[in-house]
Amino acid sequence: MVTHSRQPSADDPRVLLDQEIGVFEPVPPYPPRTEREAEFYTLGDGEMFVNMGPQHPSTHGVLRIVLKLNGEQVVDLDPVLGYLHRGVEKICENSDYHHIVNQLDPLEYISSLFMEWPYVQAAEKLLDLEVPRRAEYIRVLSGELNRIASHALFMGWFALDLGGLTPILWSFIERDEIVEMLGALTGARMLFNYFRIGGVNGDLNHEFMSRLGSWMSRAATQIEANTKLLNENEIFVRRARGLGRMDREMALRMCVTGPNLRATGVPFDVRRAHPYSIYPELDFDVPTRTEGDSLARYLLRVDEVKQSLRIIDQCLHQMPDGPIMARIPRLIRPRPGRAYGAVESPRGQYTMYMISDGTDQPFRLRIHDPSFVHLGSVGRLVPGNLVADTMAIMASLDPVMGGVDK
């Protein structure tokens, strides 16, 4: 039994390397702080700790998971966060309102627009600002493109964590095309910094439209072809089916949102449940599945891509003329108050809670990232599965570590 018998070293309590045996045991060198920690760091018969990450080939970003294994079976696990923590909330409290969009981008490096969106939404609520309709259309258009890019990448990643080599590179074709497109629109390929309080940064341009047109003409068939590699693959289906099953009650109690929640049969989509922007005017479905396992999460995202294509199509047809920015001052000083912005991102519900104290900097900006919550539920999904499925289950929840660690 490994307990906390070892005393913290006099020089640095964080030195976890046991010099005597020369092996890294991921047991903290201080007494347990909580009931849960004490339970986790006590080994039963035939159990061992395995430290997965932060440098492991398949943790998505800088995540460390301490696994308690019995043979190949995971008995329990404890995710350790904070390797990417930069204190963005604190930074935002010390930046002015326009500047913050820039700070939020790197939190969500897969689909940055969705991190900007709840922020501008909350700020617009604080300012009682009416956003031009064209700007809203452009937001929805670029946002849905970004959603497809994110989902395409998810499909590849999930397959990669199940050991498939090719899908990730095939899905990068779609993503690269979309990212180039958004690059033409926003000026950046990854961290777009595009939405502004009161509108967007630039109007649709020729390069974006021509790329979008040629891509839209073949997108559906191409995505179909990419998913065929996995959908009809016996090994893939057998591994993903029943993996990390989450039922409706558990999903709601674990505060899971987005595709992971819809895969359990709850049709909660912020775009429909609490409409924002121009989504009430658009015609699209909220696909759901009832199985709640990894396969359902994967297939649901494939369905969502198709819905996103529908939305893009409608946006292009209904796009109104007009300005793309509301008239707002250079220095924003909203009246003191509180506002809550929430959008449906590819990962779930991104929300931001903003408190203004009348100065040019928000008094508090709370960034809520669904990846963080989903990662919290990994501890309940993985135990009982094999080591091989740890990363697969984690991948099927599709977390982005930038947002998890803030």
Binding site: G22, S58, G163, T166, A388, D389
Partner: protein, 446 residues
């Protein structure tokens, strides 16, 4: 400062080398000549008496030497083929089409630090790659690549193959255990479980062939399959071939059964703590193994070196260089000159901007290519082992491609699925295959 040292000091570097090497060579050459004259007959006598041993030593050396280029070729092939499947370009910087990249990889591996983690069992940790590599390479010995081109023709060749090939699992377990790393341990134990489980259907699936062929000698098995491609055992043992192919994929730790080094799960499995040339050995062993299992599949089920159909135009070119007389001199001296000039002329005439020397270089290279092609063609029609080698290589690399293709396409199976598949499906199927074959032999009275 004597005269000699002053003279030595005035010499340039090539001069120093020349005046050191040439006397040394002279002395050594004379000494060697005398030694050969005195000891030669005795040595020849001893060698002649122990011909099988000599043959074995030569074959083992050849196999060890051949293993590295084969591994290089397989690694390059894997990189390039998977790149094409992934819609990438793949290696294209080092050498033409990136062909030299795996050579550079090899050099890089040689240059890296050979690191032993603290707490590792040094002896076993160091020995493990050697065991893996030797186990792999030694199973090369019995595989016949062409008529007369094999290391040893054991009458228990197949048994030897499985026995020596089974040594690799010992090496993998040693690597996994001695690394003192939990990922390595998991990888090593996975390797043990997987390879031991798949040994059984693998061995059972070839028993059908043994009954049909009546021998374990791989050479004889290939000879039994001569004729058209319908004589290949794959058509008499389709189920056996399928089981064999699946089991050998698991045996070689190839995707979708590459659980021992599943990078998304256990980092690199048993190889996690290895670096430098030890890792190189493990890595090479894997790729050599891929080639060996392909060659074995070809040998057992796809007719080995036999061509799938008879060559319709029997040519027997039997050029004896001695019969050419003065023509040989002309062939050696004049033909290269004329060939080079003739091949250079079109380039020189076509492009006025091209300097003469460039045209000549192109002509020379082209002539050499053509000459090599002609020599190979001549060898092809006149020596049957060249034909056999060609066919067995084509087939074997077909299977290497197949394994690479699998890796490019399929996700990895889980360990419980892997075990279930071996024990619940492959083993009964192999037994069924065995039973049906035995029944057929009795009923048909062969």
């Amino acid at each position: 400062m004597t005269t000699v040292s002053r003279a030595w000091g005035r010499l340039t570097l090539p001069g120093k080398i020349f005046f050191t090497v040439v006397p040394l060579l002279l002395v050594l050459g004379l000494g060697g000549l005398i030694a050969i004259m005195l000891l030669g007959p005795l040595v020849l006598q001893i060698l002649g008496d122990n011909l099988p041993l000599v043959r074995f030593v030569i074959a083992a050396t050849a196999v060890l030497l051949a293993a590295i280029p084969i591994a290089f070729l397989n690694i390059f092939m894997e990189m390039k083929v998977i790149a094409f499947m992934n819609l990438r370009i793949g290696p294209d910087r080092v050498g033409p089409w990136g062909t030299l990249l795996s050579v550079v990889h090899g050099l890089k591996v040689l240059g890296k630090e050979d690191f032993t983690p603290t707490g590792a069992d040094r002896t076993i940790f160091t020995l493990a790659p050697v065991v893996v590599f030797l186990g792999t390479v030694m199973s090369f010995l019995v595989i016949p690549f062409a008529p007369g081109l094999f290391g040893q023709d054991f009458n228990i060749g197949l048994l030897y193959f499985f026995a020596v090939g089974g040594l690799t699992v010992v090496g993998l377990m040693m690597a996994g255990w001695a690394s003192f790393n939990k990922y390595s341990l998991l990888g090593g134990l996975r390797a043990a479980a997987q390879i031991v489980s798949y040994e059984i259907p693998l061995t059972l699936s070839v028993v059908g062939i043994l009954m049909l062929a009546g021998t374990m000698s791989l050479n004889q098995i290939v000879l039994n399959q001569s004729g058209s491609f319908l004589d290949w055992y794959v058509f008499q043992q389709p189920l056996g071939a399928l089981i064999f192919l699946i089991a050998i994929t698991a045996e070689a730790n190839r995707a979708p059964f590459d659980l021992t080094e599943a990078d998304s799960e256990i980092v690199a499995g048993f190889a996690t703590e290895y670096s430098g040339m030890r890792f190189g050995f493990l890595f090479f062993a894997e790729y050599v193994n891929m080639f060996i299992v392909s060659a074995l599949t070809v040998t057992l089920f796809f007719g080995g070196w036999n061509a799938p159909f008879d060559w319709p135009f029997p040519i027997s070119a039997n050029l004896d260089p001695a019969s050419l007389g003065i023509g040989l001199l002309i062939l050696v001296a004049v033909v290269p000159l004329i060939g080079t000039l003739a091949l250079a002329a079109p380039f020189w005439l076509m492009r006025s901007s091209m300097p003469t020397w460039q045209a000549l270089v192109i002509g020379f290279v082209l002539f050499n290519v053509l000459a090599v092609a002609a020599v190979l063609g001549w060898a092809f029609v006149s020596w049957e082992w060249v034909v056999g080698l060609l066919w067995s290589m084509i087939k074997a690399y077909g299977f290497v491609f197949f394994f690479v293709w699998l890796r490019g396409t399929l996700p990895r199976v889980r360990i419980d699925q892997l075990m279930n598949f071996a024990w619940k499906w492959l083993l009964p199927a192999a037994l069924l295959n065995l039973f049906v074959t035995a029944l057929a032999i009795i009923v048909l009275g062969r």
